[in-house]
């Protein structure tokens, strides 16, 4: 947190360098989660809907190339935080994207920087997978002009990355839940954002498919130099895949840091009312839910 101010000033240049070259990323190993570059920064964020104060005083720094997971019990404000950062809700405070105030960006500029996949994506039934993924190119061209050949190349690449090429011409309604989630990710990837917001990317998936999707996101983060901010209600998965965790409870940020710092038995008892044992694992921590004795 102490490097925030310098990160904000330097990030504008560095983040765009990461995004354009796509190779700078490999020089930043994932094991060093906190780089001095903040791809996304949130300052004093508050969200009020009607009389309900859903979030207040959230300060958050997401280093470029990292995976940060927002965890917290139901109703803690995880989705609200992501939606506010995505510009879908009015908020107090500041959201900085690569050092620039998100509120000052035009919708297209913001869309070229920030990709968002909601918890329950609206999937147009009759649209083909390729058409759907092509929508990711929307920020880069006029709505009156068709996709250019470089747009088509990006789409082809995104389909290929997510093993969707054989399904490209299938209508979305014929896809399974896991395939559909891959299509949503492919669309977000075709958008070529530097920051990807994923709201519960695994909530509709069984364990195996959930692991596949998270591993995919991790690989894309590596290869494309993406910064990922996701909400994850599953602490077992959050403890293994994210390098940094942010724990929200009652609309406030109550803990932030590495998995071992945030996911403690004490914190789970206090904020989730849950009984769990936490042990160190090869990737992050292992969270074991424990049944009430008797």
């Amino acid at each position: 947190m102490n490097g925030r101010a310098s990160g904000a000033t330097a990030s504008g240049v560095k983040v765009s360098g990461v995004k354009v070259s796509g190779t700078t990323r490999t020089a930043v190993p994932a094991e060093v989660p906190v780089s001095e570059v903040a791809a996304l920064e949130v300052r004093g964020l508050g969200v009020r809907v009607g009389r309900a104060q859903l979030l207040s005083g959230v300060d958050l720094t997401v280093p470029a190339g990292s995976w940060t997971a927002v965890v917290g019990p139901n109703g803690a404000g995880k989705s609200t935080l992501l939606r506010a950062i995505a510009g879908l809700l009015g908020y107090q405070g500041q959201v900085l994207l690569g050092g620039r105030d998100a509120a000052s960006l035009r919708p297209r500029q913001r869309a070229a920087t920030l990709g968002y996949a909601p918890q329950v994506p609206t999937v147009p039934q009759a649209m083909s997978v390729a058409e759907y993924v092509t929508l990711g190119r929307t920020p880069y061209r006029s709505l009156l002009a068709g996709p250019r050949s470089d747009d088509r190349d990006v789409v082809t690449h995104a389909l290929d990355e997510l093993d969707l090429t054989p399904l490209a011409d299938r209508p979305l309604r014929t896809l399974s839940g896991g395939e559909r989630q891959r299509a949503v990710l492919a669309r977000a990837l075709a958008q070529q954002p530097s920051v990807l917001l994923l709201d519960e990317p695994t909530s509709a998936l069984d364990l195996g498919h959930a692991q596949n999707v998270l591993e995919l996101v991790d690989r894309l983060r590596w290869e494309q130099g993406l910064t990922v901010l996701s909400s994850l209600h599953d602490l077992v998965l959050a403890g293994q895949y994210a390098q940094r965790l942010v724990l929200l409870a009652g609309g406030r940020m109550v803990a932030e840091g590495g998995p071992a710092q945030v996911l403690t038995a004490q914190a789970l008892a206090t904020h989730y009312g849950a009984r769990a044992e936490v042990s160190p694992g090869p990737d992050g921590v292992r969270v074991h839910p424990v049944r009430r004795p008797g």
């Binding site: 809907v49 939606r83 995505a86 510009g87 879908l88 035009r106 919708p107 297209r108 500029q109 913001r110 869309a111 070229a112 920030l114 990709g115 968002y116 996949a117 909601p118 994506p121 609206t122 999937v123 147009p124 039934q125 009759a126 649209m127 083909s128 390729a130 058409e131 759907y132 929508l135 990711g136 929307t138 920020p139 709505l143 009156l144 011409d169 209508p171 309604r173 958008q191």
Partner: protein, 348 residues
Amino acid sequence: MDPVRRRRAVALVVAASLLLLALLSGVSVGAVPLAPSGVLATLLDAVGAGGLHLGHPLTQLQAGILLDYRMPRVVLAALVGGMLAVAGASYQGVFRNPLADPYLLGAAAGAGLGATLVIDFAPASLGRSGAIPLAAFAGALTGVGLAYALGSVAGRSGDGRATLLLAGVAVASFLTAMQTLVQQAHTDTLQQVYSWILGQLGSGQWSDVRLMLPYAAASALVLLLSGRALDVLAVGDDEAATLGVRPGRVRFTVLLAASLGTASAVAVSGLIGFVGLVVPHLVRRLAGGSYRTVLPVSLLGGGAFLVLADLVARTVLAPAELPIGVVTAFVGAPFFAALLRVTGSASS
């Protein structure tokens, strides 16, 4: 060419051919049958390309029937049908609701009230036949305007679609109630009001075409250019916004254009139902769901559909005519049901 574009190209060619065939049948069939070759020769003559010699031109009397009676009626049917279908498709896109149709936001109720007021209150000296279209046009736009204003005042936060739909229902009920009230108080004009409400193309004249054309053309142009925006809107307001599109702005532009076109169609033809609902569905099922396909193909297909429906309306009980609105529902509903059955198994 990728399959989506090939499918779009095929659909456009098929719909355009269908429209041309419908137009040719429309002007050829009637109490005085006209030979299609003669019709073509006369039309080419009229546009100064008579040197092609496709066949014997029509006699002067036949040419008069063609150019002064059948042509304006058939062209008007094509314009109205195309406009209602493309407006219906646009409404469905804006509301992401397959049951939306161009009359949803009070256009029909407003037009009905406007026409009824003129029929019942305007002095005969004013020239009712000229005043009805204007009153219907103004009524339709007033209805949609009220619904939109009410919907945006009530739905300041979040996705405004549901609020707008409810506002449309409320405004439509209110205006229909007023129309019924006026109508009940003037039972002598009941027949006239009803025949307007059921829709008619029988008195179609070039003046009607001229009245409708500028609005229809402007509306169709805006709607055809909105295909991509509606495709983006199909992923939901939130995701569309994170793709750099402003959903509220797209919705406003498309609704404005679709309502203007609907009002111009209603003004000259009354309330012809079913076209705006059925045609986009047929197109979607046969040609795919992208609005870049659905909008232009609906425009062409809707025109063909209404020209053929009008042909049925004036021939089955000739010399009497069925109200066109009755025919569109009578032909359209079973056809639609059959199509749902045939394509349902393939697509679900």
